[in-house]
């Protein structure tokens, strides 16, 4: 998992999606996820996926990286498809697309939104302990990732991870996890001390100067509403096959236009 890369994207990107606020993008994600839940038709699912690829293109980030990060759940969706195989490729395709589209939605959200903004948006609906736990977990991720990286390098250099010595590798790797955990705890305890000195009493304060709803927010939410309306409309109309194909053609046009736009204005 490329946590560091995603965090870099979220903090250094310069697209309209990066300019939009957390609440707008969360609403967009909720609308798209709802669309995924209510959509059962292959072409419409593909259309939603292509629409999201257009969004990924418009983020001006590496689309290949974003798509590869979002493709990870496909491995597990494939296992599920095999277990649920009924002889229909289209049905299996719908399941695969649901996994890929939902993952892409979330990756676009976190690759364009710094994590404090995401968690701040969730704060009103989450208990304090969970909200603060989210903050500290995310922060600890970077500390632990660096330590894990150093650990693996250290183990390899000292012959702790060797080919065909599986049992020894597991023992060394497990001790390594224990070491990372204890080192992480030491760092956390020091961090706790610093927080305590700075007045921490069990609640992390957040920025109360909320930003205004901008045109970027409106654009993002409007796109989400469009996707949701099309999904709901097609679901209710009953003319699923034909409408799904129309939606797919429109999504393909949006994708081509997005690529052409980014190619013209540059990254």
């Amino acid at each position: 998992m490329d946590v560091a890369l995603i965090d870099y994207y979220a903090n250094h990107g310069k697209s309209f999606l990066h300019s939009a606020g957390g609440p707008g993008k969360m609403l967009f994600s909720a609308l798209v996820i709802t669309s995924i839940v209510i959509t059962d038709e292959f072409y419409l699912m593909l259309a939603i996926y292509l629409a999201l690829v257009s969004m990924a293109v418009l983020t001006r980030l590496s689309v290949a990286r974003i798509l590869s990060i979002a493709a990870y759940p496909a491995i597990f969706a494939l296992l599920f498809v095999i277990a649920a195989w009924e002889g229909s490729l289209l049905n299996s395709g719908v399941i695969m697309l649901k996994a890929l589209t939902a993952a892409l939605t979330m990756v676009i959200l976190i690759a364009t939104t710094p994590y404090p903004d995401v968690f701040k948006t969730l704060k009103p609906v989450l208990p304090g302990i969970i909200h603060d736990g989210l903050y500290l977990t995310y922060r600890s991720l970077f500390v632990l990732l660096e330590m894990t990286d150093e650990l693996v390098k250290g183990l390899k250099v000292r012959g702790g991870l060797s080919k065909r010595k599986y049992l020894r590798n597991i023992v060394n790797f497990s001790s390594g996890i224990g070491l990372v955990l204890l080192k992480g705890l030491d760092i956390t305890e020091k961090y706790y001390g610093v927080m305590k000195v700075r007045g921490y009493t069990g609640k992390i304060a957040s920025d109360k100067n909320g930003r205004r709803f901008s045109t970027d927010d409106i654009a993002v939410v409007a796109f989400g509403i469009l996707i949701f309306s099309v999904s709901l409309g097609i679901k209710l109309s009953g003319n699923i096959g034909q409408s799904g194909l129309y939606a797919l053609v429109i999504a393909a046009i949006i994708l081509i236009t997005s690529i052409a736009y980014i190619a013209k204005v540059g990254h």
């Binding site: 946590v3 990756v107 955990l181």
Partner: protein, 236 residues
């Protein structure tokens, strides 16, 4: 790897909703139970244990894409209530990275939370029976048994879900209950062939359970050797 890597929109809404409601109730109970703890000190601990779980859960072990959860490690170190809270946080974060559907976070928390809670109590039982010198064995066996239990919950959930792409996608105009009864009668079980799924899952996951048990045992043994206070603490 006993949690649900099921995409959004595949499980029936009533099951997803039930998962969220049960998780909300369990979280409320957990938060109530830890209210007298010194949370200012515990929250950073939750952070580091959750972060370690997130890293392990997103590192697939080649070639069969298994990953360790370390949920029993979390249960032993944090105690059942804090571990359940920690697991909700982990599930929420990994769902944000597209690792499993966001709508199944509730169900995932129940499945992995069960691992942590049962792991903690089984560890305490084995430690009591085998003596405190066998923390490695106690935690390893507790991990394997907890994983068997959580996988059983997982298979049970899929059985309850009656997941069948064909039914969900093409028979939406039929009354759901009616079609469910028909398929149960014809022993299709309305979707994922539960026997096939259970056999596949149990065969694939067997090696994973052993691996996770060994890793859990070794991690806890290592931790107890250096910081026994983390294992012997007063937990809620």
């Amino acid at each position: 790897m006993s949690h649900l890597h099921i995409p959004d929109g595949v499980l029936p809404w009533w099951l997803v909703l039930t998962g969220w409601i049960c998780t909300a109730v369990l979280l409320t109970i957990c938060i109530y139970r830890v209210r007298r703890m010194e949370l200012a000190r515990k929250i950073p601990l939750i952070g580091i244990v959750s972060a370690l779980m997130v890293i392990c859960m997103t590192l697939p072990i080649i070639p069969f894409a298994y990953h360790v959860n370390l949920s029993v490690v979390a249960g032993i170190i944090l105690g059942p209530a804090l571990a359940f809270i920690s697991i909700f946080i982990v599930d929420l974060i990994i769902a944000m990275f597209g690792h499993g559907g966001i709508t199944v976070v509730g169900l995932n928390t129940i499945v992995i939370g069960a691992e942590a809670v049962f792991g903690y109590y089984l560890f305490q039982t084995f430690k009591f029976l085998m003596g405190s010198y066998s923390v490695g064995w106690s935690s390893g066996i507790a991990a394997v048994l907890s994983l068997i239990l959580s996988t059983s919950i997982l298979v049970g959930l899929l059985y309850a879900a009656h997941v069948n792409p064909d039914l969900i996608i093409h028979r939406e105009k039929e009354p759901y209950v009616e079609s469910a009864i028909q398929d149960t009668e014809s022993n299709v079980n309305n979707g994922v062939k539960i026997g096939v799924f259970a056999k596949t899952a149990l065969t694939l996951l067997f090696f994973g359970w052993i691996l996770e048990g060994v890793i859990t045992g070794l991690v806890i043994k290592y931790v107890s050797g250096i910081r026994p206070d983390l294992i012997e603490h007063d937990t809620t």
